[in-house]
Amino acid sequence: MDMGTLMFAGALGLMLIGTAALVLSGHLMRMVFGLALLESGASLLLVLTGYRSGASAPIILDGVVPASMVDPVPQALVLTAIVIALGVQALALGLVLRVHRAYGTFEMREIRRRMERDICDQAGLELPSSNEVPEPYPGSPKPQQGEY
C-alpha cells in the first residue's frame, strides 16, 4: 500500500468519522465537530487528487521544472476551501452558543421540540397531533344520519 492510497483511505476515514458524528450523535457540539472533520476529510480528498507518488512540490526554481511534481491547483483550491470551512465553523459555533443560551441544551431532539413549540406558539397553533383531523373543505358540515 503506497502512501497515496493510505492517505486516500485516511481522507475517506475522516469523512466517515465526521459523518458518523453528524448522523449518530444527537449532541450539537459533536455535530459541529463532526462537520469540521467531514470538511477536513473533503479538503484532504481534494488535495490528494493532485498528489503524485514520488513527485516534488510544484515549485519552479529558476525556471527549472521538476520532472514530476504534484498538481498545484488543488492546493490552491483547498486553501480557499479551508478558509471557507473555517468561517462556516465559526458561524456554526456562534449559532450553537445562541441556541444553548436560549434553550439551555445541546440535545438536538430537545432543541427540535422547543423550536417547533416556539413556531407554533408564534402562529397561535397547538402542537401538531395526529388526533386532529383537518376538514377537507372549510365549513364542511358533518353529514347527518340519512343524509347522502
Binding site: 469523512m15 473533503a42 481534494l46 462556516v88 423550536m115 416556539d118
Partner: protein, 486 residues
C-alpha cells in the same frame, strides 16, 4: 460587456464598505445598497440587450482558461444574474428593517448570487455557493429568535454536510479530468467522466447543491427556516437562492453529466419532492409552512422537467423555475402579515382586498390555470414528459397532476377562508404598503406575461436552445486545449 464583473464585485465591495459609509452618513448607507443594486440591474439589462443570443466568456485577471477564472455569460446566466440584482432590489430591507446587518447581508447575497450564476468554473461555483450559504444563515436568523437560531443551526449542519460532499465530488472530478473549468470539463466529460467515478461525483454534487435547491430529501430545513425567518428572507431564499442552485445543477447536467442515470436520479428525486412537498402542505396549518412545502413541490416539478434530456426539458424547467421565481416571493410577501394559523385568516379579504386578490391570482397561476403563465409552463413540462414515453416519466407526469389536485385543495381552502365573513373576535391584519406594492408589481408582471406569452416563449426557447448547446459553450470559452499538467 466587460463591466459585467461589476455585477459580482460592486455589491460585495459595497457590502464591506457599508459599515464605513454608515459612520459618515446613515442616509447614504441606507440608500447606497439600492443604488448599487439599481446600477447592477442596469448593467445587467444593458448587457442583455447587447448580448442578443450570443455568449461570451470573461476572463478575469488576464489568465486564460482553464487556469484563469472565467465568467461565462450567456442568456441563461445573465438572466439569473439580472434576476438576482433585481430581486434583491425588490426585496431590499427598505425602511431600515433589520438595520445595517440586513443590508450588508442582502448586498452580499446579490454579489455572491450573481457570481454563482455567472461562474464558469466549478470551484468558483463552490466558493460562491458557500458564500451564498453563509449569507443565508445570516439572513435566516435576522429575527434573532431562539427558534430562528435553532432552525439556522439545523440548516447549517445539513448545508455544511452537503457542501463537504460536493467538495468531495469536485475532488473526484478533478481527479478524473485534472480541470475544473466547465468548458473544458464539457470537452472531457464524454471520455473521462462517463464512468462510475463521474456518476458518483454527480451524485455528490447534486445532493450537495440540492440542499439549497430544496431537492428532496435534503430539504428538511425548508419548513423550519421559512417559518422562522422574516418573510422577505423566505422570499429571497425560496425565490432566488433556490433558483440559483437549480441553475448550477442544470449547468452540470447539461455540460458534464448527460448520462441517463443522472437524469433518472433527478427524476426520481423530483417525483419524491413533489409528492412529499404537496402532501405535507395539505396538512400544514400556517401560511408560511404551506408556502414552504408548496415551494418544495414546485421545485420538484422543476427537477422533473430537467430530467428530460434535451432542449424540451430545459425549456420546460426554465419556464417553471422562472414562474416560481416570480410567484413565490410575492406570496411570501403577502404572508408577511398573514403568518399566523390558517384559521386566523378568516375574513382576511375584507381587511386587505387587494392582497387577497393577488393571493388568488398567484394561487391560480401556481396551480397552472390557463391562460396564466403557470399553465403554459406546466403544459411544457407535461408534454416533454409525455414525449419521453417511458413509464417513469409518465409517473412523473401523474405525480405532478396529483400534486396539482392537492395544491388546488389546500390553496383554495385558504382562499375560501379569506373570503368568509370575518369573525367577531377581530379581523386579521391588512398588508404593509411596501409588501403590497411589490406583490402588485409582480402580479402585474404575471398578467403582462399572459399578453406577451408568445414572444416570451420564443425567447425562453432560445435560451433553452443556447443552454443545451454544449459546443457554443466550449467555443465561447475557448479554453486552451487540454494539457496534462504533469
Amino acid at each position: 460587456m466587460n463591466n459585467l464583473i461589476l455585477l459580482v464585485v460592486l455589491p460585495l465591495i459595497t457590502a464591506f464598505l457599508l459599515p464605513v459609509i454608515d459612520r459618515f452618513s446613515t442616509l447614504a448607507a441606507r440608500w447606497s445598497g439600492p443604488l448599487v443594486l439599481l446600477i447592477t440591474t442596469f448593467i445587467g439589462a444593458s448587457a442583455w440587450l447587447q448580448l442578443g443570443t450570443g455568449a461570451v466568456s470573461l476572463e478575469l485577471g488576464g489568465f486564460r482558461p482553464p487556469l484563469g477564472i472565467v465568467l461565462y455569460v450567456d442568456q441563461l446566466a445573465l438572466l439569473f444574474a439580472i434576476a438576482v440584482s433585481f430581486g434583491t432590489l425588490l426585496l431590499w430591507p427598505y425602511g431600515n428593517r433589520g438595520g445595517l446587518r440586513q443590508q450588508t447581508l442582502t448586498l452580499l447575497l446579490a454579489g455572491s448570487g450573481s457570481g454563482l450564476a455567472l461562474s464558469g468554473d466549478l470551484f468558483n461555483i463552490y466558493v460562491f455557493y458557500e458564500l451564498v450559504a453563509v449569507v443565508s444563515y445570516g439572513l435566516a436568523v435576522s429575527l434573532r429568535t431562539p427558534a430562528a437560531f435553532a432552525a439556522a443551526i439545523r440548516y447549517l449542519i445539513i448545508s455544511g454536510f452537503g457542501a463537504a460532499l460536493s467538495l468531495a465530488g469536485i475532488a473526484l472530478i478533478y481527479d478524473a479530468t485534472g480541470t475544473l473549468n466547465l468548458a473544458q470539463l464539457a470537452q472531457l466529460a464524454p471520455e473521462k467522466l462517463n464512468d462510475l467515478q463521474g456518476l458518483s461525483a454527480f451524485v455528490l454534487l447534486l445532493i450537495g447543491i440540492g440542499v439549497k435547491a430544496e431537492l428532496f430529501p435534503v430539504n428538511t430545513w425548508v419548513p423550519e427556516i421559512y417559518a422562522t425567518a422574516p418573510k422577505r428572507v423566505s422570499a429571497l431564499l425560496a425565490g432566488l437562492v433556490s433558483k440559483l442552485a437549480v441553475v448550477v445543477i442544470l449547468r452540470l447536467l447539461v455540460l458534464i453529466f448527460p448520462q441517463p442515470e443522472a437524469h433518472t436520479l433527478l427524476l426520481v428525486l423530483g417525483i419524491l419532492g413533489v409528492l412529499t412537498g404537496e402532501l405535507a402542505a395539505w396538512r400544514a396549518r400556517d401560511l408560511p409552512r404551506v408556502l414552504a412545502y408548496s415551494s418544495i413541490g414546485q421545485l420538484g416539478i422543476v427537477f422533473i422537467a430537467f430530467s428530460v434530456p434535451g432542449e424540451a426539458g430545459v425549456f420546460a424547467g426554465l419556464a417553471m423555475a422562472l414562474h416560481h421565481l416570480l410567484i413565490k416571493p410575492a406570496l411570501f410577501l403577502l404572508a408577511e402579515r398573514w403568518d399566523g394559523s390558517l384559521a386566523g385568516l378568516t375574513g382576511a379579504a375584507k381587511a386587505s382586498p387587494l392582497g387577497a386578490a393577488l393571493f388568488v391570482l398567484f394561487s391560480l397561476s401556481l396551480l397552472g390555470i390557463p391562460p396564466l403563465p403557470g399553465f403554459w409552463a406546466k403544459l411544457l413540462v407535461l408534454t416533454s414528459l409525455a414525449q419521453m414515453g417511458a413509464a417513469l416519466y409518465y409517473t412523473g407526469a401523474v405525480v405532478i397532476m396529483l400534486g396539482m389536485v392537492l395544491e388546488a385543495n389546500y390553496l383554495f381552502r385558504i382562499i375560501a377562508r379569506m373570503y368568509q365573513k370575518a369573525p367577531s373576535t377581530g379581523t386579521p391584519p391588512g398588508h404593509g404598503r411596501l409588501d403590497l406594492a411589490i406583490s402588485s408589481m409582480l402580479g402585474a408582471g404575471l398578467i403582462a406575461a399572459v399578453f406577451l406569452l408568445a414572444p416570451l416563449a420564443d425567447r425562453l426557447q432560445g435560451i433553452a436552445a443556447q443552454t443545451v448547446d454544449v459546443n457554443q459553450y466550449i467555443e465561447a470559452v475557448n479554453p486552451v486545449p487540454t494539457r496534462n499538467p504533469i
